[in-house]
Symmetry: C2
Subunit: 346 residues, 2 copies
C-alpha cells in the first residue's frame, strides 16, 4: 500500500525528506516494501499544492529550488492550489501529515493545532519539531491513541540518531533508572574549543560562523534546547508527565577557562549534561554543566556530536552516539518514523 | 496470550532468563502485556521436565540451585520427566524454543539440529549462542521464514546491547556502508591494561583471574570470537552470505609494549577491530588490531566494554556502546527477542 503524505511546510526538513524519497524511493520499495507518495504540500510562504493521485517529487524540488515557490509546478487535471494547512490536513487523502512548518518555540503553535486536527481527522503525524512534544505530550499522545493513529517524533531529541525508538524497541523490559546525555551540539562544540584554549566568546563566535549557533544563541547556551529534550525523554521513556517548569536548568555561559583548567587537573571534562532520574517512582530532571570523568563514554563526545546513556537494570549502561542535527539526518528521522508506521512497529 | 517457552539447556543463560521472568514477570505483564510461561526444560545433565500447563519458575530455580538437578521438582498430574531435547522441541506445546544448551563452537551442533526441528515443528527459536547464526544463517533463516516462525538471536553479537535490532528497526532505510566494532571484552581488557604498562602475558593472566578469559584463551586473543560476530553482522545487517573462511583474521597475541608506545606517540590507541564493508555490492570483512585515532568513539571504549559503529548514508555514523557479556545481560538478550516476537516487531 502506498503511504500518502501531506507536508505542512516545505523548508529544510521537508525538502530533505523529499530528496530522500526522490533519490532512494526505488531502494525503499525493493528493500523494505515501503512506498511513499507526496499528495499535498502546504507552505505559508511557498504556496500549496494537492493532488489525490500524488505530486511529482522531482518536479516539486526543481520548482522550489529554482524559484523559491511552488507556483510554477505544472497544472494537471485534479490539481488543487492554495489550500491552507488546516484544510490540507482535514481535506486531503493523506495517511500521514508530515509537520515541518515553522513553530513558535514558546507556544508550540501552530504545530499543536496541526496535530489535533490531524488526529481528529484520522491521520498519523510525523514531526521533528520538539515544541509540541515538549509542551503537549500527554494531551496529544492520548488524542492520537484515542483516534487509533500514530504520532512519530524520533527526530525531536537527537535528529536521525534513534534516542527514542532504540530504547522503546530494543531495551523494552528494562527498568531504565536514569537517562543522561549531551543533546546540544553548539554548547558541546564551544566546550570542546574552550578545552583547546579558546575563550567562551571566541568559541561562540566560531560556532555562529559555522552555522551551529543562532545569531541569538540563548536557547543553546542557557540550556533551554536541552531542557526541551529532557522533558521529552522524561515523558516518553520514563512515562513521567514532567513539564519544562519542573526542570532545573543552567547553561554554560558562566564557564571560564579557569573552570576548564580545574576540570582538566582533576582528570575530568565539562559537559552540558541533561539528566532524568527515577528514585522510587519519583522522576526528576535537570540540565547543568557537569565535570564528567574521562572514563565515562559521554566524556569522549567532542564537537557537535550528541550522545545519550540509558542506565538499565538488566542490560546495564547503554550509550548511543551520533549526529544531533543536519538536513539529511533530520530528513531521515522523519523517514524512519514513516517506515515503522508502515511496518506497524513502534 | 501467554507465551509458552521450552528451554533447551538450563545453565547460566537459561537460569538468568528464568530469574528475570520470576522477578519481573508482573512488571512485564503490566507494562508491556508480555506474559511468559516455561512449559518445558530439557538439560542433558540436569534432567528434563514438561508440563503443558506450565512449570513453577521459582521452584525450578530453587531446585536446580540447591541440588544441581531438576529431579527434586515436585510431581503433579500431567508432569512428564525425561524427554530429550528433540522430543521436547517436537512434542511440547511451546510457542518458542529457547536454545541455551552447550554447543560445539566448530560445528554449531546440536543447536543447528535443534533449530531445524523447531522450525519444522512450527516453533520460534531464540538463542544467544553465536554458532548456528555464524555457521548456518542462510539455511536457518530461510527455514524459519518458510515455516512462518521467528528466529531471534540478538545476544549473539553484543549480548544485551542491541547491535542487531537497533539498526534493523531504528536505522532502516539507510544504506549501511560499513560496520566496525569492538566485540571481544577479553582482548579489549588486555589492551587497556597494556596501555597502563602491563605486559601482554600479565594482562592475559589478570583477565583469566577475573573470569573474562577462558583457560584456553585462543578464541579470544586470536580473534576467532570477533570473527564469528562479524560474520553474523555481514549476513544480518548487510545481507551478504559471508562465511568464516571469507574473513581475514588476526588477533592481538603479537602486540608488544613497543607497539603500544608507538600508537601513543602517534595520538592513537590499539583496538581489536572487526570490520565489515561494502564497496559497490561487494562485502568484505576482517578482524585485526588497528591503531584508532583518539577522536574515534571506538578509541574511548576501555576494559571489557563492547561497541559498534554503523556508517549510514543518511543518519551518518551511529555508535552503540554497552556490555558484551554477562549473566543478566545475556538473559535480557533472550527476553528482548521474546518481547519483540510477542509484539510482532522485528
Amino acid at each position: 500500500m502506498t503511504h500518502k503524505l501531506a507536508l505542512i511546510g516545505f523548508g529544510t526538513v521537508g525538502q530533505g525528506l523529499a530528496e530522500i524519497l526522490r533519490d532512494k524511493g526505488a531502494a525503499l520499495r525493493n528493500n523494505l516494501g515501503f512506498d511513499a507518495q507526496i499528495v499535498a504540500i502546504s507552505d505559508f510562504i511557498k504556496g500549496s499544492l494537492y493532488h489525490p493521485g500524488g505530486l511529482d517529487i522531482a518536479k516539486l524540488l526543481e520548482v522550489v529550488q529554482s524559484t523559491g515557490k511552488l507556483d510554477a509546478y505544472p497544472d494537471s487535471p485534479g490539481l488543487v492550489r492554495g489550500w491552507d494547512s488546516l484544510t490540507t490536513i482535514r481535506q486531503s487523502n493523506a495517511d500521514t501529515v508530515v509537520e515541518v512548518a515553522y513553530t513558535d518555540i514558546n507556544t508550540g503553535q501552530p504545530a499543536i493545532d496541526h496535530c489535533r486536527a490531524a488526529f481528529i481527522s484520522g491521520k498519523n503525524v510525523v514531526m521533528s519539531n520538539k515544541g509540541p512534544v515538549a509542551l503537549a505530550y500527554q494531551e496529544l499522545s492520548a488524542l492520537a491513541k484515542g483516534n487509533n493513529v500514530r504520532w512519530g517524533f524520533e527526530g525531536t531529541v537527537m535528529s536521525g540518531t534513534p534516542a527514542l525508538r532504540m530504547p522503546l524497541v530494543s531495551l523494552a523490559g528494562n527498568d531504565i533508572r536514569e537517562v543522561r546525555g549531551i543533546f546540544n551540539g553548539t554548547t558541546n562544540y564551544i566546550l570542546t574549543k574552550m578545552e583547546e584554549g579558546m575563550s567562551y566568546e571566541a568559541a561562540l563566535k566560531q560556532a555562529q560562523e559555522l552555522g551551529y549557533a543562532e545569531a541569538d544563541p540563548t536557547a543553546d547556551v542557557e540550556g533551554f534546547d536541552a531542557l526541551g529534550k529532557v522533558v521529552i525523554l522524561a515523558n516518553v521513556i520514563m512515562n513521567a508527565p514532567l513539564t519544562k517548569k519542573d526542570v532545573a536548568c543552567q547553561g554554560i555561559s558562566q564557564l571560564t577557562l579557569e573552570d576548564i583548567a580545574r576540570a582538566k587537573a582533576a582528570g575530568k571534562r565539562w559537559k552540558l549534561i541533561a539528566r532524568c532520574s527515577k528514585e522510587g517512582d519519583r522522576v526528576t530532571a535537570s540540565v547543568a554543566p557537569e565535570m564528567v570523568s574521562l572514563s565515562d563514554p559521554l566524556a569522549s563526545i567532542m564537537g557537535a556530536t550528541n550522545a545519550i546513556t540509558y542506565e538499565c537494570d538488566l542490560a546495564g549502561p547503554i550509550t548511543l552516539v551520533g549526529a544531533g542535527a543536519g538536513r539529511v539526518e533530520t530528513g531521515f528521522s522523519i523517514l524512519i518514523d514513516l517506515i515503522n508506521i508502515h511496518r506497524g512497529n513502534i
